[in-house]
C-alpha cells in the first residue's frame, strides 16, 4: 500500500479539484447550504492510496479570538473504503507539515498555527494530542473541543493592547 499526498493549497489544480468534487458530491458529505465552490477555495491536501482517491483536507483561515491570531482550521474527509487505517491522522499530519511550511514561506499571511474542532464523540480525552500535538484551548457553543498547534517559527507580537477580540475581523 502506498499513499501519496498532493498539495492542493492555493494551486487551483483542475485534476485535484475534480477529485474533490467527486468526494463532496456524495450525499451528506457537505453540510447543507455549504457550496462546493466555497469549500474548493479551502482545499489543502488530496490523498491517493495506490492511485485511488482516498480523502482530502480543507483549511479555513480565520482569527481565533481567544489568542487574537489567525489559524488554519482543518477539516478532513476520508472515503469509507480507506477508514480504520489511521488515514485520518496521517492526512492531518501531512496537512500540518504542508501548511506550516507554507506559512513560513509566506510571513505576510501571519498564520500562527493549525486548529481543529473535534466533532467526533469519544475523541479527545487527552488534552494534548499524542500524535498531532494539538492542544485543547477551549470549546465551541456546542461543547465541541477547539484544539490548536502553534507553528514553531511563529512569534507572538507583544504590541497587542489595541487588538481586542471584538475588533478582529475574519471571525465566524
Amino acid at each position: 500500500m502506498s499513499v501519496e499526498y498532493i498539495d492542493a493549497w492555493r494551486k487551483d489544480d483542475p485534476r485535484l479539484e475534480a477529485d474533490a468534487r467527486r468526494i463532496w458530491s456524495e450525499p451528506g458529505v457537505l453540510p447543507e447550504g455549504k457550496g462546493t465552490e466555497t469549500r474548493m477555495k479551502e482545499l489543502a491536501l488530496v490523498a491517493y492510496e495506490d492511485g485511488q482517491l482516498a480523502g482530502l483536507t480543507t483549511l479555513d483561515v480565520r482569527v481565533f479570538p481567544y489568542v487574537r491570531q489567525k489559524f488554519a482550521f482543518i477539516r478532513g474527509f476520508i472515503l469509507p473504503a480507506f477508514r480504520m487505517k489511521a488515514a485520518g491522522r496521517d492526512i492531518m499530519l501531512e496537512t500540518h507539515k504542508m501548511i506550516e511550511t507554507w506559512a513560513l514561506k509566506n510571513p505576510g499571511e501571519k498564520l500562527a498555527g493549525l486548529a481543529a474542532i473535534i466533532q467526533v464523540p469519544g475523541v479527545g480525552d487527552h488534552p494534548v494530542g499524542r500524535s498531532t500535538g494539538m492542544v485543547l484551548v477551549g470549546y465551541t457553543d456546542r461543547n465541541e473541543q477547539v484544539r490548536i498547534a502553534w507553528f514553531d517559527h511563529f512569534r507572538v507580537p507583544l504590541n497587542l493592547p489595541t487588538l481586542a477580540p471584538e475588533n478582529l475581523t475574519g471571525e465566524k
Binding site: 481567544y66 487527552h126 485543547l136 484551548v137 477551549g138 512569534r155 507572538v156 507583544l158 497587542l160 493592547p161
Partner: protein, 173 residues
C-alpha cells in the same frame, strides 16, 4: 553561586515561611489588602543562594472557565540581585515538576495543569514556553497573556462542568 531549590508547597514550614515574609517585606511587594498569612500558604519552591533567599514561586489553584478545568497559577518573585542569573526559568521548571507530581498523587484535587499570567511586557514572544511548556491560550482584560500547560497524566472528563458554573478568573497582581 550555588543555588538550591527547596520545596515549600503544603509544608507549613515556619522557617521557610519566615524567610518568604522577610523577602516580601524587604521588597515591599505584597499588594495592599492581601493577607500575608493566606499568601504564604501558596509558596511552592524557594531558591536559596546558600542561606540567602533569592527567589520564590507560589501557586494559586483557580478554574479557567475557557478550559473548564482547574489550573495551578504560578507567580514568581526574584530578588533584584539575582535577576540576571536565569533563576526564574529554573524556578518555573522545578515548580512545574513539583506540582505535576503533586497533582498526580492527589487526583481528588483535579488540577489539570500549570498556568500563568504574564505581567512583564517583554515576556511571551514564543507561543509555547521552552522551560515551562505553557502555551498562550488567551488574554486578561488588561491584555496580559494567559498561559497554560496541561499535565501529562490529566484526562479530560466525559462530563464537563458548564462554563457558567466556574467563577470568573481572579488575577492577583
Amino acid at each position: 553561586m550555588a543555588v538550591t531549590f527547596v520545596t515549600a508547597w503544603k509544608k507549613n514550614d515556619p522557617k521557610l515561611e519566615a524567610d518568604v515574609i522577610a523577602l516580601w517585606r524587604g521588597m515591599n511587594v505584597l499588594p495592599k489588602g492581601e493577607s500575608t498569612d493566606k499568601r504564604v500558604k501558596q509558596i511552592a519552591i524557594l531558591a536559596y543562594d546558600d542561606d540567602r533567599l533569592a527567589g520564590i514561586s507560589s501557586l494559586e489553584v483557580q478554574a479557567i472557565p475557557q478550559l473548564r478545568q482547574k489550573f495551578a497559577f504560578v507567580r514568581e518573585l526574584i530578588h533584584p540581585d539575582y535577576r540576571k542569573n536565569l533563576i526564574a526559568r529554573t524556578l518555573v521548571k522545578h515548580t512545574r515538576e513539583m506540582i505535576e507530581a503533586y497533582a498526580l498523587a492527589h487526583p481528588e484535587e483535579a488540577i489539570a495543569g500549570l498556568a500563568a499570567v504574564f505581567q512583564t511586557p517583554h515576556l511571551g514572544k514564543r507561543a509555547i514556553g521552552l522551560e515551562s511548556g505553557m502555551g498562550l491560550i488567551g488574554y486578561t482584560d488588561k491584555h496580559e497573556q494567559i498561559r497554560a500547560g496541561w499535565f501529562e497524566h490529566f484526562m479530560v472528563p466525559a462530563n464537563l462542568t458548564p462554563p457558567s458554573e466556574f467563577p470568573e478568573l481572579d488575577i492577583v497582581e
